[in-house]
Symmetry: C2
DNA sequence: GTGTTCTATTTTACATCGTAAAGGAACCGG
DNA sequence: CCGGTTCCTTTACGATGTAAAATAGAACAC
């Protein structure tokens, strides 16, 4: 966590920020004493409630439309109230990412079958993209940088170790599979969004038709690029990766420098 | 192109937009008559100059910091002048995407070797990510929806046809390779950005250290996740895909429904 | 010449954004 | 009752994207 404040935009915002008084940095403080009780109705603000509502809003109205003020309105409080629980909008979005990630199944469904666990995980990731299309760009774009995401990765890597993979192979396949999954999902989401857009505007439809005529090859291939074939592509690619993973679990296939795992 | 205006944010902005008077929609009008001549110095505004400067600015200061006002300042004009050439910031970004895409090599370096052409293309794409890290997210996130990008795809698919791939395989591998490339590149860029951030802040550094202790598996794997190993991962994954591509060029390996190409 | 029209740009204005800073209001242990 | 802590609101500032109108110069009509 920690207050990072993204990038300072123009490097000359206002003041040098001298730790104002130490507001709220840690995300879930409510548990240290008693949860909350003020304002009888649903007013009880907590970091979790804010985060959940943020996700709900993003799902409902898109990432672009999401703002602290709108979130405040949805929560029944002023926008600035959020800043008691999160140091910035950015940090809140990190928390949303964390919440999504932690829903993924890290354990294999059948204990020994770690390839299957990887597969399940990949499918879970993809399911996330489908369930939260608007929030998914966050996952693909932001670095995993919170405790929960660390825990997720640690669990995953622990599983890989039990499967006998050395660290290098683990790293490699983690990168490969996760890159592949986000790549496919982003592609897919972009395609869906675009299909939406075109369908909702006659002029864009006409334009698409014209493009189809001007570029015949594009036209004939693009029927295979439609949403209905996404599953096919995803499974094909994923199985390709998993096969390779199964094929060469221990050995390192490239020069390498003896940085092996400590366990057999 | 066409004025799309993104999504209307809240669905209740201001007025219903009744085609104000028909300002500028088509991107490059300067060529129809004479380029321009007003304002002796470097003032000559054109769609191309705006787009190029936009890319330069994004490269230099990041996507977040990019705004029409700053672009105007860089060009020596008011922000609104841009709107004569592009209907929206969104459309301008589309043009930037197009400019980047059209730099990729679609032709194979040795005429017959189409696998090599795919490889070159993938490496070119990755090089783009390296050369324009700040602009790259645009490529991965936005749909290819301009004439230039259509042309690019048409050229690519034409090449695939010459290589003997049917439309289904073409579509499949296009999606696979492009998804893979953007996924890896995004991952890579996020990693680099994060390494930057951590290196520039002692408290984040301490935090990272603590995480390393709390999650031992993460720590030992993550040395293999460092930037120095990106090339390795990319090549490994790409060759995996290309091998599969070479292995099964024509046949469709799944049930399929006879929706084949009309051309031999 | 004097309009008038077209093209390119500036000016002005508005709603919205993230968030710093300060000011309550409710609770606390004394 | 009092000072402190905790949580939330108010107010304010400097951005943002862009609609709308004003404006300046070039090109054409007469």
């Amino acid at each position: 966590m920690a207050a990072v404040s993204k990038r300072k935009r123009t490097a000359s915002k206002t003041a040098p920020r001298t730790t104002p008084r130490e507001p709220a940095v840690r995300a879930s403080r409510a548990s240290t004493k008693r949860p909350a009780k003020r304002s009888s109705a649903g007013g009880g603000l907590t970091a979790e409630r804010i985060r959940d509502e943020a996700l709900r809003l993003i799902d409902a109205e898109g990432l672009e439309a999401f703002s602290t003020r709108r979130l405040g309105a949805a929560l029944g409080c002023e926008a600035m109230a959020i800043y008691w629980y999160y140091p910035s909008k950015d940090a809140l979005l990190d928390a949303v990412v964390e919440a999504l990630i932690s829903r993924l199944p890290v354990e294999p469904s059948t204990p020994g079958d770690w390839i299957d666990a990887f597969r399940k995980l990949a499918h879970g990731y993809r399911r996330l993209a489908h369930r939260h299309p608007n929030a998914f760009a966050l996952l693909a774009t932001r670095r995993f940088a919170t405790e929960g995401t660390y825990r997720f990765l640690d669990g995953l890597f622990e599983m890989a170790r039990h499967a006998g993979l050395d660290d290098r192979q683990t790293a490699r396949f983690y990168r490969l599979v996760s890159s592949f999954c986000s790549g496919v999902a982003l592609n897919e989401l972009a395609g869906l969004r675009d299909a939406d857009r075109v369908a909702s505007s006659p002029e864009l439809e006409a334009e698409a038709l014209a493009a189809r005529e001007a570029f015949p090859r594009l036209a004939s291939v693009s029927s295979w690029l439609e949403p209905s074939h996404f599953d096919d592509v995803f499974d094909f690619g994923l199985e390709l990766l998993l096969e390779a993973l199964q094929r060469a679990p221990h050995a390192s296939g490239v020069p390498a420098g003896r940085g092996r795992a400590k366990r057999a």
